[in-house]
């Protein structure tokens, strides 16, 4: 159980590794590393190079492709598909913020207030993972169905008027709108936010809360000045673990959205698997990778947790 909650430790800051003791057998570590690292080099690193090379090729399916350093593909791909890029960032960004807002209370509840229910709630957070996420995403089609109770309630509460004004819904529908896609993304990646948040909240010494209270801090001040800053590592790794997969996702946009909600993942998927325009698809995928790596690096720098890896 506890190890599952530690699933994202690469992003969580760790204590500096103790210097491993020197051992006999100079070559032993290399033998241990060899098979796994070879696997990652051949099936993870090498494909990146192949993809980069594919993106600057020209040709056709029939005659084959050749590397012609045709960098214009990048420009063409960007100018044709920039709306999908913008949408990916917007949807994934909104979903990440929603995940933080929704996930924080639950992580806090599990860490400090659950008492004997702690393990049960933890199981309930993780258990949905074991039902195929596609089946669970399809369930949102039922939940958000036109004229269903959820849409009716949102309508009565005038929530739909607000989202309508924001351009997230159109009329009395939720399905096939950006709101449905964001809702699906939020739902699918929420556990990736909750688990690292919980891990870092759990580490906080309860006496700090008492101390803050003794110094006449109100609960809200205690949260703002003590709890939240101490949970920053969890916030950083949680937002990354939510944003990265959400930005590349195409399942939610496909199942819950419409042609107006297509994200960059959808374009890469159709270009690769249906249109078979490999150079454009490879260029788009390369841009997505570069953009995400850049954002992650900047974000980690800014949040000051550089010892993440």
């Amino acid at each position: 159980m506890s190890t599952l909650t530690e699933a994202p430790p690469p992003l969580a800051p760790q204590a500096p590794e103790p210097k491993p003791p020197k051992r006999r057998g100079r070559w032993t570590p290399y033998w241990l590393l060899l098979p796994g690292i070879l696997w990652l080099v051949v099936f993870f690193a090498l494909p990146m190079i192949y993809q980069a090379s594919t993106s600057v090729q020209t040709g056709s399916l029939e005659e084959g492709y050749k590397v012609t350093w045709h960098f214009a593909t990048y420009w063409d791909a960007l100018s044709a598909y920039w709306p999908q890029f913008v949408r990916s960032v917007l949807y994934a960004g909104t979903a990440t913020i929603l995940c933080l807002l929704l996930g924080y209370p639950l992580a806090y509840l599990i860490a400090f207030r659950a008492g004997r229910w702690k393990n049960l709630i933890m199981i309930l957070v993780i258990a949905p993972f074991f039902t195929s996420f596609l089946i669970r995403t399809l369930a949102w089609k039922t939940i958000l169905a036109d004229g269903g109770p959820v849409v009716g309630a949102l309508n009565t509460l005038h929530v739909l008027d607000v989202t309508d004004w924001l351009g997230m819904t159109a009329g009395d529908r939720v399905l096939a709108t950006p709101l449905a896609v964001v809702c699906g993304l939020t739902y699918n990646f929420l556990p990736f936010m909750i688990l690292p948040l919980y891990t870092s909240l759990e580490r906080i010494d309860g006496r700090l809360h008492e101390a803050a209270g003794d110094l006449y801090a109100r609960p809200w001040t205690t949260f703002r000045k003590v709890t939240f800053p101490l949970s920053m590592p969890g916030v950083v790794s949680g937002t990354l673990l939510t944003f990265i997969p959400a930005a590349g996702d195409y399942v939610n946009a496909d199942l819950l959205g419409s042609t107006d909600t297509r994200m960059v993942g959808n374009v890469i998927q159709t270009q690769f698997l249906r249109v078979l325009d490999y150079p454009t698809a490879a260029a788009l995928s390369f841009i997505l990778m570069a953009a995400i790596l850049l954002m992650v690096t900047l974000y980690i720098r800014r949040s000051g947790t550089e010892d993440l890896v």
């Binding site: 690469p10 639950l106 949905p128 996420f133 490879a282 997505l288 990778m289």
Partner: protein, 266 residues
Amino acid sequence: MPFVNWLKRNLVVLAGLLTLGYLLLPNVVVTVFSFNKPKGRFNYEWQQFSLDAWKDPCGVSGLCGSLSLSLQIAVWATLGATLLGTLIAFALVRYRFRARGAVNSLIFLPMAMPEVVMAASLLTLFLNMGAQLGFWTILIAHIMFCLSFVVTAVKARVMSMDPKLEEAARDLYAGPFQTFVRVTLPIAAPGIAAGALLAFALSFDDFIITNFNAGSTVTFPMFVWGSAQRGTPVQINVIGTTMFVVAVLFVLVSMLAGNRRNRQKA
């Protein structure tokens, strides 16, 4: 105003429980709709109660075949990733060597990369090599992306291990092999098990990477994806519900067993 005070004190609990509800609502819907008898091809609207799908879970052609294929791939991918990942984890914790930073980033990057990028680039490799897409390409891909998760799970456990235990074993004249099998491995076992469990779940439920590298082979997630286009049989809800119940029972039983063992020790 005792109610307002109570509300103030328990606001975070209420908000947390609402989120929990949001997380569990789809599972409730999946379960309820496994007892549905839909009118058309899609199982999105409630019609009437029926046990038809539960009586005949394999009644849709291709469904149980895809399920057994997914289980096979998940088992092999778990074995492969756990073996390779455990070796890497031990090398990282126990030895000093050059290129440590490069190895660490090679482990970290697959977890920081959107799945669609890994999927697309791996496909370009397979296309360039002229590989036949199918069982083997799926297995290769699954071992690749599960590996990093196993490494981190096992590494965390091995790092927290007390080196004095192994020294003690050596002092008692256990050979290196004996020390490893009788002392090191049992202590590392929970980490390895957690890594394996994670690998199994990731592989079994993977869609995006499989979608790119499966060719015409249909795993269970691929079957569900296809049915979202053609018509969703009630049977996929039956399977989803069963998976959920089995997983919760499995965790509950193992937790109860752990509790009992702890009590016996005490």
